[in-house]
Symmetry: C2
Subunit: 322 residues, 2 copies
């Protein structure tokens, strides 16, 4: 999105200017490496946009935005160890390029750096930001644990799944907005409504991610289509399908689950999911959270024309049929 | 030490009253488990004692003390993964009892809880505490990285080793005292002198730990005597010996290094170290830091009779010949 570019540039500049010691090299080299791998920088941009709703000097929110981005990168470094992921943004993960111990420790130090960013605010603002940030950090850890627990569980409910994605990914979008709003001088109620906007857009976005895994245009989709299916991942599509199956369909579901040929497996899943109307059900669920997000945004007490930037961003993030 | 008991009891009570959610169980059960494994609680007690030097209501320092203790336990959980330690205080470590992923994540969440404790202070005090705490947290990570790097390095200098133990263990003693002092209302200079007291006592204590590994009375020593020697660990004794050896002694050092029989190896090391006067050199080095600590304590601007408690504690921690 063209209008986001100046904000993204500010974040990239702040990341380049972000100073870390040189030694111990095995502690800091991984951080220099990981932070320049790039990314959409969605979270820190949200912090800047939220600040600007209340204060034209949105650069004031840069330390808060950096805090959120550094925290996000810390979680990626640790999550990559847990998921045994070899690649991140097409490049070797920290535990692959160095080792797990170095990934644990450099992650830890990045987490402190995220907190340290907040020290640039005066004491009362710092305390308000710390409150949101610490609560969010705990929730993100809880979401990651739920995600790991779900791998070995056969009793994952759809509501538990939604709660997991809310904690693992959405609360940090909410927190980014809320922290930006606090720096901008927003009142409690406006800051909370922006949090809810981010939280609900985050859930809709994650559901869309589940949907696109199977239904994306392979030419436009960056990843392998059907990756979640191939790893039997309990996504929203999967769990909804399980909950809708009749006895005959459950048998076909089991056959699909145990199919090893990749193309066959994806075809079987797609046929079954289509029959069960999973695409429509997923879009309806996405819509539910999209609408909640828009309601929350409407409740922010600023002129509606100023909200257009966040409305546009939501429309850009979430593809809707109607 | 009898007079410390009431302080230790307060810490134990605070730890028992410290509430964590029940779920996700795999995130919080390890923390409930680990925090009740016990320990001397030296760091949080130092925070309470430092506060009491300036303010009779030393309980005000309980959240700061808890913060330091929770942080210390977070580092132990992560260090145990890195060191592949099966036991901690005679019980299974978190990554052994659960797994490494759970140990990483429950450690992360404990780190946030350590920060959250500081939220109980009013904004200006919070900011001062955050400053000390974050800086210390980074230094502890740096120390742990240096320690890991030293394992595979043949060029560890004695001064780098001292810097490593300063960062890995001593700065947290200093921080505990400084944070307690800040809560008690101490001025900057007094808080800094107490930090230096803790930092130097910490180095002396760690050097003593190196000494006792080989020279402790086996009946009184909790661990296997000579454990460091058996794992060819580059302690102060080892590095000092290497730096003092003549050519003939270097050869015997190499023989000792490659000896596999445990008793033989320890005997060879002891003979060589005694010949090189390593016990005396170690005690001299300990003394140097002990004296620095006492100088720092003398510089704290409170009546000298009030400092007796910290003097006693230092004497209790560090055994001196004279």
């Amino acid at each position: 999105m063209e209008f986001l570019k100046p904000y993204v540039t500010q974040i990239e500049t702040a990341l380049q200017q972000f100073e870390l010691p040189d030694n111990p090299k095995n502690l800091y080299d991984p951080l220099h490496y990981f932070l320049q791998l790039g990314g959409k920088r969605t979270r820190p941009v949200l912090a800047l946009l939220a600040c600007e709703l209340f204060n034209s000097e949105y650069q004031k929110a840069l330390p808060a935005a950096m805090s959120v981005e550094l925290f996000h990168n810390f979680t990626l470094i640790h999550d990559d160890i847990m998921d045994e992921a070899p690649l991140r943004r097409g490049m070797a993960t920290v535990h692959e390029k160095w080792n797990s111990n170095i990934a644990i420790l450099s992650g830890d130090v990045l987490f402190v750096e995220a907190y340290k960013q907040l020290m640039q605010y005066e004491a009362n603002v710092l305390k308000e930001l710390m409150n949101v940030f610490s609560q969010t950090a705990i929730e993100v850890c809880e979401g990651q644990q739920m995600d790991m627990d779900f791998e070995s569980s056969d009793n994952v409910t759809i509501s538990a799944y939604i709660e997991m994605i809310r904690l693992k990914t959405s609360v940090l979008l909410g927190a980014a907005l809320k922290m930006g709003a606090i720096v901008g001088g927003a009142g409690q109620s406006d800051a909370d409504h922006l949090y809810q906007f981010g939280e609900n857009i985050g859930i809709a976005f994650q559901l869309q991610d589940d949907y696109l895994d199977l239904y994306a245009d392979p030419d436009k989709f960056g990843k392998q289509v059907g990756g979640d299916i191939l790893s039997n991942k309990k996504t929203f599509l999967w769990l909804t399908a399980v909950s809708c199956c009749n006895n005959e369909q459950i048998e076909r579901f089991e056959v699909m689950k145990n199919t090893t040929d990749k193309e066959d497996k994806i075809s079987l899943a797609k046929a079954l999911f289509n029959e069960l109307d999973i695409p429509l059900l997923t879009k309806k669920e996405m819509d539910k959270f999209y609408i909640k997000a828009m309601e929350a945004l409407r409740n922010v007490s600023i002129p509606s024309e100023n909200k257009q930037v966040l409305e546009e961003l939501a429309k850009y993030l979430i593809i809707r049929d109607k």
